[in-house]
């Protein structure tokens, strides 16, 4: 009786389980940073069509956007992202280190350090540039109102901070003290710290606050496109930073959701010609040089430095500048 009972039960469980797994649709949760809404809206549609044609499987998407640091914290705290597409590698490193949801070498799994697109930091000013803002040192002038988000929560804000710092270091006679002085004076001119880049864009563009928005290049181009070139100008500073937003599959979450294969394909597709074209159309600089050449009129050549060159990478820059009690805290609390 016991054996027969067991066999019947196991058989029943197997049948029920096979019914449950016979699915032809999957859902991917992409946890991303603030300004990528439009990019992934278009990309997800294209990828879903591609994947459906290739495999017959329907992919539904859930998107989550917010300050990059905040988003990483949410994933660490249990937001079950299948993939993360954040503003900087440090935030994905934090997920790997604190939640162990993906391996430490995640950045080596895709080309270009898992950054399928780049961007940089530029200035968005009111039409005609009435305050004559040309470069980073203009942001520190008395009477200039500067809009930038909070580096404690926003990846974009951290790029902004380091771009200004790197500019100061690269000036004749530039050193850490002068960089700190410049950045301190810039933050004295910041009246509002939003949590993310999209919030800062709202502050500057829709609420009409400030003379200059320190912005992702893609965010600035999008603002001009959406609101018309008669309202804003983009100012390219003499030097800026090369931002490399990375992407990664969150292995453990994807494994649990049985979405590993589709999640990997989702990120690989970013490197294809179709994916790179969508990236460029949404004002991110594509890695593919042929595609980049097609959009050369949108992305002028700029002098860019990398975080590795100037700051020794995120692992050094993050705790020094943005850790609790770090340089940003000292500067901002001392305003």
């Amino acid at each position: 009786m016991l054996k027969r009972s067991m066999i019947l039960t196991v058989g029943f469980l197997a049948a029920a389980g096979s019914v449950a797994t016979a699915q032809r649709a999957v859902t991917l949760l992409n946890v991303s940073y603030d300004p990528t809404r439009e990019l992934y809206q278009e990309y997800n549609t294209a990828f879903a069509a591609y994947y459906k044609q290739k495999t017959g499987v329907t992919v539904n998407f859930q998107q989550s956007h917010g300050g990059s640091g905040k988003q990483a914290r949410s994933v660490i705290d249990g937001l079950e992202a299948d993939v993360v597409t954040l503003a900087l590698a440090y935030d994905i490193d934090a997920i790997a280190q604190n939640a162990r949801l993906l391996p430490a070498n995640w950045q080596t799994r895709l080309p270009d350090n898992s950054s399928p697109y780049t961007s940089t930091i530029v200035f968005l000013v009111r039409k005609g540039n009435p305050k004559h803002i040309r470069d980073w040192n203009d942001l520190a002038r008395p009477g200039i109102s500067v809009i930038t988000p909070n580096p404690k929560t926003s990846g974009g804000a951290r790029w902004n901070f380091l771009a200004a710092w790197g500019y100061a270091l690269r000036q004749p006679g530039g050193n850490e003290a002068r960089a700190r002085d410049l950045v301190t004076r810039i933050y004295k001119n910041v009246p509002v710290l939003d949590a993310g880049a999209r919030g800062s864009t709202t502050t500057f563009v829709q609420r009409g606050i400030g003379d200059v928005l320190i912005a992702w290049e893609n965010e600035a181009l999008l603002a001009v496109k959406e609101l018309g070139p008669d309202k804003f100008d983009i100012v390219m500073p003499s030097v800026s930073i090369l931002a490399e937003p990375p992407v990664a599959v969150v292995d453990k979450n994807a494994g649990r959701h049985h979405t590993t294969e589709v999640a990997q394909e989702y990120l690989r597709y970013l490197y294809t010609d179709a994916g790179q074209d969508i990236i460029a159309r949404n004002y991110y600089r594509p890695r593919n040089q042929a595609i980049a050449a097609r959009y050369a009129n949108i992305f002028p050549k700029m002098t860019l430095f990398t975080i590795d060159e100037v700051f020794g990478g995120w692992s050094k820059a993050q705790p020094l500048y943005f850790g609790d009690g770090g340089i940003f805290d000292q500067i901002y609390q001392g305003r």
């Binding site: 009786m1 016991l2 009972s5 067991m6 019947l8 039960t9 029943f12 469980l13 029920a16 389980g17 019914v19 449950a20 249990g78 109102s145 009246p191 509002v192 939003d194 949590a195 919030g199 502050t203 609420r207 009409g208 606050i209």
Partner: protein
């Protein structure tokens, strides 16, 4: 060339200076206005950001709630929760014809059951329900359940096996103070694991369980043999999603168990249960003298089958079930299979304030005479019968003391003051065949009262 008069020159110069001053003044005023406007915008934006932050914090904050369904604390995303519920039955039993003292007129706490339920990671539930009724402590429910899909839930622990219809109804929702005669023949609580689910938008419910196996109407916390029992139930509600259909609340199905039980004289009841009246008096039990020689014991296969149905429409409600069991028993090495069967039909009628359902009545208006609310009143009638097969007498049960048949007729009124407080009054008369040295056991007439508080 004519000379400009000196006075005129002074006026022109003065005007120019004044104009320049006015322009400067205008510039200064415009700049001040712009600065003020900026400051106002900044203040507005800061307030906006602050409000967003508060909203975000509130959105992520745990939610504490107190309602008629109990008290709970849950995480903002509903993935984690703790719910505290419970109920108390404060009863009175009044035996109206008890010259042979089948029962004792008394007040008692029939059930005192706090319930603790928790959910973690959205789909994993735990439920713990002890019972302190009648001054004893019995663990009624303690199980973990994973809800993988509506059609696929897995449960492990101690719970009601999926067999008797009225047994599966919560004690807070039964329409009489005590369940009817068929419940004598189905397990109460058992330990094991179960797969269950609702298919086809809930039109079909199924459950299959592998359990230790317990005697009729019994609870078990372990086992005394290696054999395990299978229990299964399938129940159909084909019209449940057809709003307005007269058959929307029609349900029917069948359940059963299959297993082996082996009793010993040292085991209480020897692996066999006695059967009780509504007044909880035992009217039938197998022979048991606590010695191997002279005690009827469970000795092999036990099967149960139970077709069942319920139907609710408007003010009317109906529930009916039939249970047939076959026990293989032995006495002094002589083996016999004893059939026992029981059935009941229960009718309910909502006199005012609400409509009957399997989950009782949810009063349209809570009792509050000042506001015109009188709660809901329900009339309930039932008739049922339990018959022990002739094979039991006189070898395995003493026909001079154990009744071979009990027939119960009950009528009751349930006054739902609100969803949480219910007053129950019922009268139950049970007649017997056999059970006395000569003729039949004296009939039992019991009046019940109950105050139920549940949350």
């Amino acid at each position: 060339m004519r000379k400009i008069p000196g006075v005129l020159l002074v006026v022109v110069i003065a005007s120019a200076v004044a104009a320049q001053h006015l322009v400067a003044q205008d510039d200064s005023t415009t700049a001040r206005i712009e600065r003020l406007e900026q400051q106002i915008r900044i203040n507005d934006r800061l307030r906006e950001i602050w409000q967003d932050s508060v909203a975000t914090v509130l959105k992520a904050a745990p939610v504490i709630s107190a309602s008629r369904d109990g008290f709970s604390i849950r995480s903002a995303d509903n993935a984690f929760s703790l719910r505290i519920k419970g109920y108390v039955h404060s009863d009175g039993r009044y035996f109206l014809s008890d010259s042979l003292k089948p029962g004792t007129t008394q007040f008692l706490l029939r059930r005192v059951r706090p319930i603790f339920e928790a959910t973690v990671f959205k789909i994993y539930d735990v439920r713990i329900m002890p019972d302190f009724g009648a001054g004893t402590t019995v663990l009624q429910d303690a199980y973990i359940e994973a809800r993988f899909a509506p059609g696929f839930r897995v449960r492990s622990g101690k719970y009601k096996p999926p067999v008797g219809l009225e047994r599966l109804q919560s004690a807070t929702d039964i329409v009489f103070a005590e369940r009817g005669l068929p419940t004598n023949l189905v397990p109460n609580r058992d330990v094991g694991f179960q797969v269950a689910g609702d298919l086809f938008q809930g039109r079909v419910s199924y459950a299959a369980a592998l359990m230790n196996g317990v005697p009729d109407v019994s609870l078990g916390d372990g086992d005394n043999n290696d054999d395990k029992d299978l229990a299964g139930r399938i129940f159909f509600t084909p019209f449940r999603n057809s709003t307005g259909n007269l058959l929307q609340n029609l349900g029917f199905g069948v359940s059963g168990t299959l297993g082996n039980q082996v009793g010993t004289p040292t085991t209480t009841g020897a692996g066999l249960a006695g059967y009780r009246t509504a007044g909880q008096a035992t009217f039938f039990a197998f022979r048991n003298n606590n010695a191997l020689n002279g005690t009827t014991i469970a000795d092999g296969r036990i099967t149960r089958v139970s077709p069942q149905a319920n139907y609710y429409a408007g003010r009317f409600g109906f529930m009916g079930e039939y249970v047939k069991t076959k026990h293989r028993v032995s006495l002094n090495g002589v083996v016999e299979t004893i059939p026992v069967e029981a059935w009941q039909v229960v009718g309910t009628f909502g006199l005012f304030g609400g409509s009957p359902s399997f989950r009782g009545i949810n009063p349209k208006k809570a009792f509050d005479p000042k506001a015109g609310g009188w709660g809901a009143l329900e009339l309930a009638v039932r008739y049922g019968r339990l018959t022990v097969g002739d094979e039991a007498f006189p070898v395995y049960a003493d026909s001079t003391t154990q009744a071979r048949q009990a027939s119960g007729l009950g009528i009751g009124f349930n006054w739902y003051l609100n969803r949480n407080v219910k007053l129950v009054t019922s009268y139950e008369q049970t007649k017997f065949k056999g059970g006395a040295a000569t003729g039949n056991r004296e009939k039992e007439s019991v009046l019940f009262s109950r105050v139920q508080f549940s949350f």
